[in-house]
Amino acid sequence: MNALQNMVAGFEHEAYGSQAVFRIALQALSHPGRPLDMSLNMAVPRGGHAAAAALLLGLLDADTALYLSPSLAGSDAAAWLRFHTGCSAVADRAQAQFIWIGQGDAMPLLQDLRQGNDAYPDQSATCVIEVHNLHADEAGWRLQGPGILGERTLRVQGLAADFADQWSRNHAGFPCGVDVFLATATQIVGLPRTTQIISKEG
């Protein structure tokens, strides 16, 4: 018995796989609020959404610190990310550059995460939050900001009720603040700190 017992492989082809994921992450942040299908040509671990796992597998490396929400902390997914990327797992979320919040786990206050500072706003946290569903739907948020021509609509199911409030505070702190990826099992949506949610879900 050892720590590698339930380990699965990572990208089928490391260079192409991580390039594909990185490309999708860039697209997600340059078209905020647009649901994008995640490239999943890899073995993914049990625990956590596959799209979130794939995104983090592409973004993490040995210099990054990752905070995992309680349901993910002891999972195969955590061991898998550490094995393939060499990232370090930290228990203090204020230290982490990447935050992975599993579905059903309480979301930490965005204000408690690394915000960066005026000289280095890039030293902020990137938060991957798992949700049920993502739809471009009139019933949801109306989004505005750089990368959006006019307005974009997005309905998210399975997110904390006060997310929109927290997000407006996060947006107000520009250029500091965190960037968020919302992930279902197959799709991701990017919400960079420049994006404004102008109508709340409901």
Partner: protein, 167 residues
Amino acid sequence: MFQTHDHDPGTPTADRQAWMALLARAPVRLLDAALADHQDTPQWLRQPETGLMMVQGRAGGTGERFNLGEITVTRCALRLNPLHLNAPVGVAYVLGRNHRQAQLAAVADALLQDPAQRETLALSLLAPVRQHLQQQQAERHRRAQTTKVDFMTVAREAAGAQDEDTE
């Protein structure tokens, strides 16, 4: 010779450390001979990859740590039976750039974790490797002995030379 002191001998961890240390230094020819039946492609968890590692040393084993230099290391991780998720995982780190050597060492590590195969493989692989390493060390020791200088003699000669100077 390489020794580990992290775990008490006799525990599973210490046993595995001991055989992994042997496998890391096993020549390909011995690995090949013992693992002739296990040559098919395994399920890779991490394909063989070559990289650099910093080796650190301590002067006299006790001084401050310093960076001795970088070495080339190839590592891989694999599972022998792809259909069986709980099959043991073999891991290998070997010196140099030989991907095949890393693969065979990892295969041997996976097989040794299976109690049914351990006895046979310990005889057919670990014993010859241990013997090979002992021979290698004895040979190195013998070569080093030929260059041994008896410093007592030098000291006496030097003392003699000084005496001559003063005369």
